[in-house]
Symmetry: C2
Subunit: 198 residues, 2 copies
Amino acid sequence: MTRRNDPIEALIELMARLPGLGPRSARRAVLYLIRKRAQLLQPLADAMQEVARSARECLNCGNVGTTEICEICEDTRRANGLLCVVEDVADLWAMERSGVFKGRYHVLGGTLSALEGVGPDDLRIPGLIHRLETEEITEVILALNATIDGQTTAHYIADQIGARVALSSLAQGVPIGGELDYLDDGTISAALNARKRF
Amino acid sequence: MTRRNDPIEALIELMARLPGLGPRSARRAVLYLIRKRAQLLQPLADAMQEVARSARECLNCGNVGTTEICEICEDTRRANGLLCVVEDVADLWAMERSGVFKGRYHVLGGTLSALEGVGPDDLRIPGLIHRLETEEITEVILALNATIDGQTTAHYIADQIGARVALSSLAQGVPIGGELDYLDDGTISAALNARKRF
Ligand SMILES: [Zn+2]
Ligand SMILES: [Zn+2]
């Protein structure tokens, strides 16, 4: 048993705030960390300190990394004219794991939502328009989740972009209500290869 | 996408080694931490550092805390003659949450297991015998999990203790194959109150 001002109790309470961990799994995790102090707890403390110090959002695309402009935006080999628009960084990572997309990304940072009061300026939609005006982009692939908000956002972006560039969206393989980050890599590959004109 | 030597990737790999978190939930957790850098990531890094520095096992009972002898062992109000033997600290915490036990604990650190080559000296069984010889203990409550290894361990301890003190075990309410840490507090209370002579 630990007191409220005990560092172990404090750690459990912080761990329980992580997505996917409740109080019980937080307690288990902390006991495990204490047992693996040298192998895991200390390296984890150091890694968190380092990420807290260095992590930042790419000023261009919204990806997270440790530089002002991320590696993908810096990589000239990826300037192939394709721009893949995703809701969040987890989706970008899921696309990268599929290994099939060789262009660049734009991370919206969410979806439009009347219910939650999220408008275009709360997302990176102005930044997207700016990139279309300044970068050499030939096709925008809307890789948004197959949710109502995701599809509303896709239609809004399609309206804004108009006939400026070719526009496509992931097609085959994305289940209704499905989220990209839950899909296996093969499904993402299939959806990307079978993308249809918007 | 992040490189292998990226601090964000390093943090994801460490987080994925926590019990209950796989690669996917580790990625989600790290993105969440980056978004909540000031409110969660930095405090968590500090709390881990502090626990890595200060956590230790009680030399008497095996509970974890930040002192050589834990609060429960130090608390003279808990020297009521009852000693509750549990497998691990998570079980001790579960007993404490039930709020019904007012004595002290002895944490074995596991169970005997022929399969995994765990013998009495790998557990805190010698320490338990020593406590029975030196502390004023009138009853030992074996609160081990209702698993084969747990019950084997209970029988072994019962043999070792012999007629030295009264011996009981949690009875009503612990389901077959169940583990204490999964039970609700009421079930633990009922099992403790209905404990039967071993
Ligand atoms: Zn970028
Ligand atoms: Zn103790």
